[in-house]
Symmetry: C2
């Protein structure tokens, strides 16, 4: 199934909640070893806890890479487990390169049979760094999410620079819409090319939604970073689809004690309700 | 030793040639297996061939990641071997993220004891995505190279957008100079924060060198992509240091037959002489 159709279906059946898997060793529950094995157990435990609530998980590759090649083995194992449990898997790697190197990244994560459904990508290189990913998305029913306006305080240093009558991230949004417009899913009317727009910039979110009518938006920055349900609601299209909202620490480290799975499930459920309520307003 | 001091010393002792390790499976010499073991053998063979000519190698992470966790094991093994053979190691991963995730990338590649000396990073996120890397560089005598003006045809889509009286990549160059100015090596007078500027844009190179007086420049795009010795010479400072020049395919796949090591050595030697001649003009 086309990635955007699968994402829309999962959003309708469960919720637009995407659980960020950021398994920072120092924050793992005390009962788990601070090793790649501990990360594996933790991620599987979170997946089990949230699989009936969340549409997707977003493993953050840095926390696996920092454990060396053993961490990368756990990364692929965890992605495969999430997929088995019916979750869509968005690898947050922010990869970017050109030509045959970009193709290698695309093959690494968006190849046929990869447990990853979509990959985040960074757009500084222009379309040479995007088109090889889109080719694989089209061939293998995968997706990408291109950074447009990120949630962090310094995102404006580059992304808000004025370019004529607009700013860089608005220009980028129009590029993303143009990159995605020929890759539209029949059910969702959305592209396999998505965008990342932070929950912490609600005014920008509202305008970016209008600039990218066919683009699914991945919204980080909910919870710990300060984004609220009424902020993220602006990223959705009127039927309540077209966006997914990420929370990581506020869900996966909701307790930090022996009840970490129950606490994660409860936090994900609360978040799903908050967003649902905001969308009905 | 401070990374820029080490790089400058290696450049003077050997040459500014940086050999790109892009071990694309389909291009490996026929005598090698098309597996992670073949990649390991190939990269070690290239390192042996060029270690007396090149100052550094630049393994391109995508070609290791596409082989899964086994490829990542080979990546770390190859980096360690290059370091043992007296080469500086620049991991081309174009990583980028913020906060504790950025710290995890920094720990993954620029931690104490890592065989990697420097990492390429992508700047779309602003200083939140750079400062955690710089902190590790300062603590562990490592370096980063920030994408400023890349060698590919579509680099201008974002990097050449007009911002007031300048363009995005010029603005980025000034940010890079400001990020690097407190991290200067005593011997080289250069920062541990470097920049990537493609050989394919010689006019821009000349101006960017003046905007970044303390920034070592990593110059891709030599050879196969069209950059010439007189183009890259513009990235150096007057004493013939301050830049390194990457070639990958034109060196590592110079022959493709059984004499691939001799051919790589010869290609690297020719390139070193071409650049030396251009610098003396």
């Amino acid at each position: 199934m086309h990635f955007a159709d699968a994402l829309t279906q999962a959003t309708k059946e469960k919720s637009p909640v995407c659980v960020g898997l950021d398994p920072q060793l120092s924050k793992l529950p005390a009962s788990l070893p601070k090793t790649s094995e501990g990360v594996d157990t933790f991620c599987r435990g979170i997946i089990d806890a949230v699989k009936d609530i969340a549409c997707s998980v977003k493993p953050q590759m840095a926390y696996f890479e920092v454990l060396g090649w053993k961490g990368m083995k756990v990364f692929f194992d965890v992605c495969a487990y999430a997929k088995e449990q019916g979750l869509l898997v968005i690898a947050d790697g922010k990869r970017n390169d050109i030509g045959s190197t970009c193709e290698a990244y695309a093959d690494a994560y968006l190849g046929k049979g990869s447990p990853v459904d979509a990959l985040t990508v960074s757009p500084y290189l222009g379309s040479d760094g995007i088109n090889p990913f889109i080719k694989r998305c089209t061939e293998n029913e995968k997706g990408i999410f291109v950074l447009v306006k990120t949630s962090n305080p310094s995102s404006g240093e580059l992304q808000d620079l004025p370019v004529g009558d607009e700013v860089v991230h608005e220009h980028m949004a129009q590029l993303v819409e143009s990159w995605g417009m020929h890759q539209i899913g029949q059910e969702s009317n959305l592209s396999c090319v998505g965008a990342v727009v932070g929950a912490t910039y609600p005014e920008e979110m509202k305008y970016l939604r209008t600039l990218m009518p066919h683009i699914p938006i991945l919204i980080p920055g909910y919870g710990t970073q300060g984004g609220k349900a009424e902020d993220v609601a602006r990223g959705f299209i009127p039927d309540g689809t077209g966006a997914i909202v990420v929370a990581a620490r506020s869900i996966i480290f909701a307790s930090g004690k022996d009840d970490w799975q129950e606490a994660a499930k409860e936090a994900a459920g609360t978040m799903a309700k908050e967003i649902q309520t905001a969308l009905l307003k």
